[in-house]
């Protein structure tokens, strides 16, 4: 049968918009420590593919397996293994950075590993614990969302443009969080257009737009 160690083993993946396929079918195989970069021009369906894997939007697939288990009809199993970082960061402006972090972890039913203040210091938000998220800059908001990621122990991360809005230091933070996650045996898919600003080993998946 299929390799049961794979975190994601999918074939014939396609996304539909208005009943039209967005890109030619693709296959994804992700094991422990794998990093996959989804590339393609604007509108090729990079974000749509990531969202569809989580059940946000329609997905067509010949096969979708997680650790040897067919999850095409049981997307909640895949969702429970995933962590999603989208373009919208799901931060509540009225809540402080620390409150947002605790809230995100509680909603995901994940435990906070380590000291929250150390976590915020790591993403470069030391001293901003009690600042309402609405007074942060775009880059700082992204860093606040990264803190949630750094605390997460879910094995499969789906990151949509994780480097957007970040300065060089911020990109290094993403790289170190990612490297730690991959070393723990996790895997990640991220979208990007252009050259990756990090030195991690990554495979590429190019989406060929059909229209």
């Amino acid at each position: 049968m299929h390799d049961s160690g794979l975190l994601l083993d999918a074939e014939g993946l396609q996304c539909l918009r208005h009943d039209e396929a967005l890109f030619a079918p693709v296959a994804i195989r992700l094991g422990a420590g794998d990093l996959l970069v989804v590339e393609g021009r604007n509108g090729a369906g990079k974000t749509t593919l990531l969202r569809a894997l989580l059940g946000l939007g329609r997905l067509q697939a010949d096969r979708l397996c997680h650790r040897g288990r067919d999850v095409l009809e049981q997307r909640e199993v895949l969702r429970a293994a995933c962590n999603w970082l989208g373009h919208l960061l799901a931060l509540k402006g009225e809540l402080s950075v620390l409150e947002n972090l605790r809230l995100a972890l509680a909603l995901a039913d994940e435990d906070l590993h380590g000291d929250p203040e150390a976590l915020l210091e790591r993403v470069g938000l030391a001293g901003y614990e009690d600042t309402p998220a609405r007074s942060l800059s775009a880059g700082q908001r992204k860093r606040a969302a990264l803190a949630r990621l750094a605390a997460s122990r879910r094995p499969l991360w789906l990151l949509d443009e994780p480097f957007a809005n970040l300065d060089r230091q911020g990109m290094d933070v993403v790289e170190s969080i990612l490297a730690e996650h991959l070393a723990r045996g996790g895997a990640a898919i991220l979208t990007s257009h252009g050259v990756l600003p990090i030195r991690l080993q990554a495979r590429q998946l190019r989406l060929e737009a059909l229209h």
Partner: protein, 224 residues
């Protein structure tokens, strides 16, 4: 394996956000007081004319005020991506809808019920009708919140949902209004409000079992 933690967290979050935006939460209450005041002035302060109308006016006003809060039920979560996180999360969406509905009822259902004595005072509602008025409002707003939850979920991703929301919600409010207002009328005519209150409670329980799963489905479908 699965715990109640995500649902408690969502309930706590909505209550905390409401506390931080206190002015927004008080708006429907202020609206209710103003509408009732307008009725009181238009009808004139004659007790014999106000008394028969007080209960229906309070009931309609409470439902309309509650309606004002519906647009905000999912608006913020859609705009900042929190709804996507809930949909992409591993928690039961139905459970999350129950948390959402409970938070909304605690804020607006209980809030408007507690404001009802002020409304009753403005309309000269006989004091002996106040207990049944409050009971019917507490029961009825529980059902009204569920109706609102479905409608808000159906229109969550629409930019301008106001009129559509009204068209969905108002007809479904009707049975609640009939038995809610009817229970107070029963007491006014010296009858027992028991039948009307039981039917009101039955509606709310029915909506409570039906609405959160329906809202969860609506959000999932709306996402495709």
């Amino acid at each position: 394996m699965s715990t109640l933690r995500p649902y408690r967290a969502l309930l706590g979050r909505d209550l905390r956000l409401a506390w931080r935006r206190r002015a927004d939460v008080l708006m429907p209450l202020a609206f209710a007081v103003l509408v009732v005041l307008l009725f009181a002035i238009a009808i004139g302060g004659v007790e014999e004319r106000l008394a028969p109308m007080a209960a229906p006016i309070i009931w309609v006003t409470v439902l309309l005020s509650g309606f004002l809060s519906l647009d905000g039920m999912f608006r913020g979560d859609v705009d900042d991506g929190a709804l996507d996180q809930l949909l992409a999360g591993s928690s039961s969406l139905v459970g999350l809808m129950y948390a959402k509905a409970l938070a909304h009822w605690l804020l607006y259902g209980v809030g408007l019920t507690l404001a009802a004595p002020i409304l009753a005072l403005l309309l000269n509602l006989p004091v002996e009708l106040l207990p049944v008025m409050l009971t019917s409002l507490a029961l009825g707003t529980l059902g009204a919140t569920q109706v609102g939850l479905i409608a808000a979920a159906l229109t969550a991703r629409l930019r301008r949902s106001g009129i559509l929301l009204a068209l969905i919600v108002m007809p479904l409010f009707l049975p609640l209004l009939i038995f809610g207002s009817g229970s107070v009328e029963a007491v006014r005519f010296g009858d027992s409000p028991r039948g009307a209150l039981l039917l009101l409670a039955a509606q709310s329980v029915f909506l409570l079992t039906l609405a959160p799963p329906a809202a969860a489905l609506a959000l999932r479908i709306g996402d495709e």
